[in-house]
Amino acid sequence: MRTLLWVIIGVVGAVAWGVLALHRGETVSAAWLLLAAIGTYLIGYRFYSRFIADKVFELDDRRATPAERLENGRDFVPIPKWVLFGHHFAAIAGAGPLVGPVLAAQFGYLPGTLWIVFGVVLAGAVQDFTILCGSIRRDGKSLGQMAKEEIGPVTGLAAMVAVLSIMIILLAVLGLVVVNALKGSPWGLFTIACTIPIAILMGFWMTIWRPGKTLEASAIGVALLLLALVGGRYVSQNPSLAPLFTHSGLTLAYLLIGYGFLASALPVWMLLCPRDYLSTFMKVGTIVLLALGILVVLPPLKLPALTRFVDGTGPIFAGKLFPFAFITIACGAISGFHALISSGTTPKMLRREGDARLIGYGGMLMESFVAVMAMCAAAVLDPGVYFAINVPLAGLGGNAASAAETIRSWGFSVTPEQMSGLAASVGETTLLGRSGGAPSLAVGMAQIFSGATGQHLAALWYHFAIMFEALFILTTIDAGTRVGRFMLQELAGHAWSPLGRTSWYPSTILASGLVVAAWGYFLVQGVTDPLGGINSLWPLFGISNQLLAGVALSVATTLIIKSGKARYAWVTVAPLVWLLAVTLSAGYLKIFSPLPRLGFLAHAADTALQVQNGALDPATAARLIFNDRLNATVAAGFMIVVVLVVASSLREWVLVLRGRKPALTRETPFIQSAWVS
């Protein structure tokens, strides 16, 4: 009976993939995409994750977890499996899986979806799960600590530097997404600005006035947030209020930088934590809502399965399908950042070892499903509309008429009236050239939701979606700035110990300022980039995030080999090899490609040429050239760090496999759990 069920799931999944792959001409329903994804996840979860749990790690519920052995009522606390699943999912899922697929849709929906679904089953979920298993066997140690203990101190340091620099790029690119979504949008900016006083109010409520009453505070927070959403419409229509909230990208970038500094230096209970709290509920709620919306409406996918831009001429970002589809999807298929959560807060709360399968592997499948839904939201748009929103204005010729003309030349149709009508229906003045993924996702979501609730609510749904994305991007920005500050203080503490004291105010101010200045620099660079910023920063982020995954998989492989399971090392080695091929070739192309839109150095040379021809003033050119060289250096830096980590791990593997070094890991010895008999 059970076997029959799994055969049916397999067949349904395979048929759905077949429909997607072979369908030509007419539009195909989003239902097939969802069926194909869910079928593959179920098979992957049932068979592959069980194989990893049973054979590779031999997870054993009789073995006490850190939450049992080290319980302290604070961070080491056992919590129920499904609650931890929700908590872990909320921690790993952010704006990445929403934005990446929307951008990658320029290749059509099929390549991105294939990578999101198969990538997660064979690579992304494997990474999260293996690192989680490694960490629960080592008292919840972090990725950096495991790298240091199992591979060597230099590798540990390299991992730490990698994490810090990846964080800087991540914060900059997420900031750029928010800025592009909010520029010239009084409704959006008003709603987002309101989240700051709302969070502060919640902070005082749950820590000072009614300590511990977090649910009361969040009920109030959600209510006020919805009020701010509705209020935004009033503000945007009021001639004296609207200009106060209408700003250029550059002004917004500076406001965001100021906010990041404040959030990092203020006590966490005041702003950072309540906002985090609010965004968790919004995140889980909206994702459930989006899934229901897609299931109820079952919209047709209007984007073709493959577009002509697989040849590398894509207007949203440059580069061919390989390797750039895999770089752009970033978080939905595999994300190195998750390794930091899987070896951070989550392993300290696991009740039983066996729960790791649902939380580590299952949590990542869930994130992948979010990415599939984002792909659906992009693919339900008319292709012409999709490109009009996502291609930077410079790439569209600067105005609505030229945009329609350019998009027609690519074989899609859109009229200026269609775009202005769409903008008006969602309460915006224009949607042209809002690159960054968030606005087109919001238009797609608004289309899906208003398909279920009626068109008159489209504007409200659009701004709800923008608010929801901006809310958790800001959460990542303030939490990330703060963590970056602590990491910088720890590193600086090695040089001069007072700098390492995280409670010493001058050190805090200095470190917060440095972290904010670093991502702020890249953010401003992106906002002022004539090519739109996303073209240079998003691939840089994708490369760095996937390279961090390379570090995590190297550590995981070392753990597997050292625990005497070398025959199963392919579980992590295979995705590692693929990731290295993708990221190193993408990194190489971003630096050395002779095409100015793709290669940083070629772009610098092209800019210099434009100065000679008198087409560009020397001051602007000098800034652009400096930024190109900086980006090239950053990409090269990431590649070097990863090659170093992989090489030192490889050396360790060879030593162990040849028997020149004992296969010993630093696992905590087995202690019988008191909870399982």
Binding site: E71, N72, G73, R74, D75, V77, I79, P80, V83, L84, G86, H87, A90, A91, I92, A93, G94, A95, G96, S142, M167, L170, L174, M206, T207, I208, P211, G212, T214, L215, S218, P267, V268, W269, L272, C273, D276, Y277, T280, F281, V284, A330, C331, S335, F337, L340, I341, G344, T345, F472, T475, T476, A479, G480, R482, V483, F486, T502, F541, N545
Partner: protein, 60 residues
């Protein structure tokens, strides 16, 4: 009924990464009865401070 509400509340609080004060009190009474316990407000602020300084708690 009260028990169920307490469980739902604790699950929601835990879901968002906030600490469970009652659980902390139970732990303290069981394991360190001789030590003084933090007040709810102190406990909350201390937890938030350590949580947000340990490592990333939110991804991309």
């Amino acid at each position: 009924m009260r028990m169920l509400w307490r469980q739902i509340r604790s699950a929601l609080v835990r879901l968002s990464g906030m600490p469970d004060y009652e659980r902390y009190l139970l732990h303290c009474r069981a394991h360190h009865p001789e030590l003084p316990v933090l007040s709810e407000s102190e406990f909350f602020r201390e937890y938030l401070e350590t949580r947000s300084s340990g490592g990333p708690t939110r991804c991309c």
